[in-house]
């Protein structure tokens, strides 16, 4: 007689951005199927911005995702500026990167402390940790507030930054504010180091240990960071960002409003902080470089849980990098916030490193309007790989208490820091 198995499901994974679920189907031979159900409705961002004025489309793109709205804004603006043949001045580029770093700091702090840490400390909700883990919650709020304040000052607000415009910024903070930003960043450094220490002690489950293909933007100027023109694969292959469609091939899958991506059409791959470290660690400098060298074994490329520690390392790195970039801008003070732009016809691609990994924008501009748009987000890139790792976890634990299995598989998903809203807008026109 055949045994009857009920699928083990988490309908709505808590403590991630967006709405998704896990479904594990078990049969006599073990795990039959694992599905990450992406149940957020589609929003058709590329389709709805077609034929719209470029500046208005650029105001709408960041709305794809709140956790990385600065990443969307800055990547879309770079693609648009490439399309119209405009290159921002160095100091403007530096300050845009500082804004991006604000997003990185806020997003990593939020993910690590509010979304990941409660699992390890046995809480359902980070707000409940306040009494027992005062120091940790204090650090979380300080880092998060620092990041959002940077985005407020440079982006006009921490979510959906309107201050970034074609040609530069609407308005720039004054010199005293930038000096204060440097001071607050350096004060935050010990807190970031504490975070790294803390996360270096957390378990990285060996159930999901195995080879992973990593992809990351190759940083411009060989300094670890956000912007670049090539994508680097951990197998040694490199390709210009414009060729992403050849090497990062998307497919529609039945259980998800978000498409899945495969390297050269076959293999799942990973993007994110860990992938950046795996591919670009030699471009790190300062305290982060030292920490990387001394903790290489924990930052190994073969375990998705190492992504948490990689984010903690990046907190240290981006704080130091932010200070240096502000100095670069201050060296050119006073800075004109904006150059006039002419909205010429053209085609532009930009790939940058959002907190969760590569985000790619392709925009074509015609008569001042968007004639073509293609956007791929880190979570869409990661979904196929995430399913592989959830399956690995499920195969080891499908006989356990279902609650334990759910808890462990959710932790795998959380380690990727998925942004489900991001993943679902995807369109091809």
């Amino acid at each position: 007689m055949k045994n009857l198995y009920l699928p083990i499901t988490v309908d709505h994974i808590a403590r991630v951005e967006g709405k998704g679920g896990v479904e594990i189907v078990v049969g006599d031979e073990g795990v039959k199927e694992v599905r990450l159900n992406i149940i957020e409705g589609p929003r058709f961002f590329e389709a709805i911005t077609l034929g719209k004025k470029l500046d208005e489309a650029l105001a709408v793109y960041p709305r794809i995702c709140s956790f990385c709205s600065a990443a969307h804004k800055l990547t879309a603006v770079e693609a648009a500026e490439k399309a119209i043949g405009f290159t921002p001045r160095e100091e403007i580029q530096a300050l845009r990167e500082v804004l991006y770093i604000g997003d990185m700091i806020e997003s990593h702090a939020l993910h690590l402390y509010l979304l990941v840490l409660p699992d390890y400390l046995g809480y359902s909700n980070p707000l409940k940790m306040v009494n027992e883990y005062k120091k940790e919650i204090g650090i979380a709020l300080d880092l998060k507030n620092l990041g959002s304040w940077m985005m407020d000052e440079l982006g006009a607000r921490a979510i959906h930054q309107e201050n970034v415009v074609l040609g530069g910024f609407g308005k720039l903070p004054d010199k005293a504010t930038l000096e204060l930003m440097k001071k607050r960043l350096s004060e935050a450094l010990p807190k970031a180091e504490y975070t790294f220490e803390l996360f270096s002690k957390l378990e990285q489950y060996e159930e999901v240990e195995g080879p992973i293909i990593h992809m990351a933007v190759k940083p411009r100027g060989d300094v670890y960071g956000i912007y670049g023109d090539y994508i680097k694969v951990s197998d040694g292959f490199e390709f210009p960002s414009e060729d992403y469609k050849k090497h990062m091939v998307e497919r529609v899958v039945e259980h998800s409003f978000a498409k899945h991506s495969f390297y050269n059409g076959e293999k799942p791959f990973m993007v994110g902080a860990l992938s950046r470290l795996v591919n670009n660690a030699e471009t790190l400098y300062g305290r982060a470089r030292e920490l990387y060298e001394s903790h290489k074994d924990l930052l190994r490329p073969t375990n998705p849980f190492a992504n948490n520690l990689a984010q903690a390392l990046e907190l240290v790195y981006f704080i130091e990098r932010g200070i240096d970039l502000i100095d670069e801008a201050l060296a050119k003070w006073p800075i004109r916030p904006r150059d006039p732009v002419e909205i010429k016809d053209g085609f532009g691609v930009s790939s940058t490193e959002a907190p969760r990994g590569i985000v790619t924008y392709t925009l074509e501009v015609k008569d001042g309007k968007v004639a073509y748009a293609d956007i791929i987000t880190p979570t869409a890139f990661n979904l196929a790989m995430m399913e592989v790792h959830v399956r690995m976890m499920a195969e080891k634990h499908y006989n356990d208490d279902p609650e334990r299995l759910k808890y462990l598989t959710e932790m795998v998903v959380r380690a990727y820091d998925p942004c489900i809203s991001c993943s679902v807008h995807v369109a091809r026109l």
């Binding site: 403590r15 967006g18 006009a156």
Partner: protein, 263 residues
């Protein structure tokens, strides 16, 4: 002792920015003495979508058949339903092309690919259930949440803002983007409450808090400026649609703007 107010924060289809903004309020930790969180998937693993709550905050547009059922359930279980942010209140930016055919959009996006969930065109929450209060903005300001929540907690009812962004912009002493630069700033017809955040950075308002009614003070005189600056009806309508696509009075309103100034 009075029991804690039970709160639920629910997400439909959105960017999660309203919840993020809510979670970013430092005072929230103190508010926990007064509120109990029954359902908030973004932060709490022990969330119960079926729990009875005193206040239900709903973020996002109704964009799947499953979400239609969800909002009905929330309404049944909640005493006060608050639509939060541009998506829940107005259908959000995803409604910008609401008049396009869904099948057509689907085909351009997913090709012949099939998905087992039922998508639909984005709609505001109010199209399906009664909404008791609205928090505007994309995203709302932190003070919008604090004001609404605080007012509910003392047993009173928060008020709506019925004046345009221009009022706050003047008080801040900003140069006028519409008059001085001729850019299509929607300040004159957009609900205030943001302290003219974007115009204070020299950025023309895109109307994220939604249109005010056109019977409010100064509407006629402010709206006149659009035409004086050579902006067209189509331009203003298209820009207003970003956040107002579901406003049934939209065309009537834009019509009025351009009629009023007829010589």
């Amino acid at each position: 002792m009075r029991r804690k107010a039970r709160i639920g924060f629910y997400a439909l289809t959105s960017c999660y920015g309203c919840q993020l903004q809510f979670a970013m309020i430092d005072e929230l930790v103190q508010a926990l003495e007064k509120i109990g969180i029954e359902c908030w998937f973004m932060l709490d693993r022990n969330s119960d979508e079926n729990a009875q709550v005193d206040i239900a905050f709903i973020e996002g547009s109704v964009s799947t058949e499953e979400e239609v059922e969800l909002v009905k359930k929330i309404r049944e279980n909640a005493k006060i339903v608050v639509a939060v942010g541009s998506c829940a209140v107005h259908g959000g930016v995803q409604s910008w092309e609401k008049d396009k055919n869904l099948e057509e959009l689907w085909k351009t996006v997913y090709g012949d690919g099939k998905v087992k969930f039922e998508p639909k065109m984005a709609e505001p929450v109010e199209n399906y259930i009664k909404v008791d209060y609205r928090i505007y903005g994309c995203p709302p300001e932190k003070k919008d949440f604090l004001y609404a929540l605080g007012t509910f907690l003392v047993g009173s009812w928060p008020e709506d803002i019925d004046y345009p962004v221009c009022v706050e912009c003047r008080l801040k002493g900003n140069p006028c983007i519409l008059i001085e630069k001729g850019e299509p700033c929607l300040g004159p017809i957009t609900r205030a409450g943001c302290d003219a955040r974007c115009p204070s950075y020299g950025i023309a308002c895109i109307g994220c808090r939604g249109a005010i009614g056109y019977d409010v003070a100064w509407f006629d005189s402010l709206a006149k400026t659009f035409r004086e600056k050579g902006l067209t009806k189509e331009e203003i309508l298209e820009r207003m649609k970003i956040f107002n696509a579901h406003n049934p009075k939209l065309e009537e309103m834009v019509e009025k703007i351009f009629q009023e100034v007829k010589e």
